[in-house]
Symmetry: C2
Subunit: 286 residues, 2 copies
């Protein structure tokens, strides 16, 4: 992990739940952690609570030019512009990563803006909570989660190793590698579609009156119906084509199941349940 | 709880996961617990493991005529026939309940068969696991769960109280009361629809290759995709009209969301997420 010994000063841009949790963990591990966030209150909270060492609510040149690596933890729509506006202040050859939930729409743009002098290695921490803001930051939420390094042919093996090691030292359980296209295709399904399902299930007629009668299954399926509408709207729109393909596939699948129930076609209905049971069992083995 | 002191000998018919868990808990509490199950192996296992005191894989007349109350824990399709076949052996004025997940299709039939000499008070323990059989029985799964007493105008206040107390001594967290129609309408939504969603999500194209990339949300939403296909096919068919209504409402809701994403209608999409967030928060308060 020599890259990390050489990258002592970490700048976190965007100090929300995820940026705050990165900062808290890295500071605990002994790094010098700086942050920039447009909320003065968040910066003050983070300094008072020893989540960061230094911070500013403006694009402070000293922080931007002094740091050895940057973690972009702002909303998806803000990341490209911030890098464009500030890259001339960066120290040469620094590594930059992000936490964004979609990749195709941003990675090539950022790498084109940066050129050969700085390296952007995208990554996606597959962790989250139904809460917002640095005040909810915690360094335990990475423990059983997956960390995906999203590489392109612009990345060096040194940059990729640096990013893998970031995932490791944050405490993620598993590090994997995907291209931006592979990542967005999978995320459309395992993350974006599941959030759309939870929201839709919660919004059906009469859902609000049923607290006394629900079992674990309803609670599990709607936990993520508590959702940050601004961030997820950006994520859905930035990955629209892939998400719509997944939604159509799911709507077709549940409509098929509906039709089997209408026709009381027990044999084909049971076959669907046998398939889902076999597939889900494989998940428990890993 | 005088009814329970007077009903010392409990017969459990059907010794699967639920019947086994009832038996185990009631025996621990000091009742004399008997069981009938067509699997000789299950009866032997339960006797060896002190889950029951006595049992038989045939419809043993001594057990049926000697017990003070009966818990029907067989599959939905089997319950009416078993009562029809065996009611002449019942001791007069015993209480009978069940664990079935649908009610309208069975409760009136059973009460008509029994007439005034025996009382059937339906109930639904809203607990379960993704496992089957008496070997997986455990007496902890009721702790945070809801127990629904499903009453009709044929029930006496003594019978209803007996059934409420069964839920309490089994350790359920909350006892509530619904008519068969109310019960089936709610269950179609909070239980049956959620299982259809989980199965359909798990069965979409490519799901099986994604173990390494999933977060908690996908795992939560598909946990119940491991499903007993024989029992759930019966439950779905016996509550078909109500389930189809709920499925149609959900399919409409997620199709609306899909169309908002296609049109990039951010304002209406955010409104849907604000509604789901507010509704889900209410669940956490209870």
């Amino acid at each position: 992990m020599t890259e990390w010994i050489n990258k002592r000063k970490v700048l976190v841009v965007g100090l929300g739940l995820m940026g705050g949790s990165y900062a808290m963990t890295l500071k605990r591990l002994g790094f010098e952690v700086w942050a920039i966030d447009k909320s003065k209150e968040s910066i003050e909270y983070a300094i008072e609570n020893k989540i960061i060492d230094k911070g500013d609510f403006r694009d402070n040149e000293e922080l931007i030019s002094g740091c050895d690596c940057i973690i972009m933890a702002v909303y998806p729509s803000g990341i490209v512009k911030w890098i464009e506006d500030n890259k001339d202040k960066f120290k040469k050859h620094i590594f930059i990563t992000d936490v964004t939930g979609v990749k195709s729409a941003i990675v090539t743009k950022i790498q084109d803006i940066l050129g050969p002098d700085y390296e952007f290695i995208a990554s996606h921490p597959m962790a989250g909570r139904e809460t917002n803001g640095v005040a909810n930051a915690n360094d335990k939420m990475f423990r059983d989660a997956n960390f995906i390094v999203v590489y392109t042919d612009k990345n060096t093996s040194e940059g990729i190793r640096w990013c893998e090691n970031l995932g490791r030292i944050l405490g993620f359980n598993r590090i994997s590698h995907l291209t931006p296209e592979e990542h967005d295709d999978i995320i459309a399904y395992v993350s974006q579609l599941t959030h759309c399902i939870a929201v839709s299930l919660m919004n059906c007629d009469g859902a609000q009156d049923m607290v006394s009668y629900t079992g674990d299954s309803f609670r599990d399926l709607t936990r993520i119906a508590k959702i940050n509408e601004n961030m997820w709207t950006e994520l859905f729109f930035m990955n629209k084509d892939r998400l719509i393909k997944r939604m159509d596939s799911f709507i077709k699948e549940i409509t098929d199941m509906r039709d089997l129930i209408v026709r009381e076609d027990a044999e084909n209905l049971k076959e669907k349940m046998r398939i889902s049971t076999a597939r889900r069992k494989k998940f428990d083995e890993k």
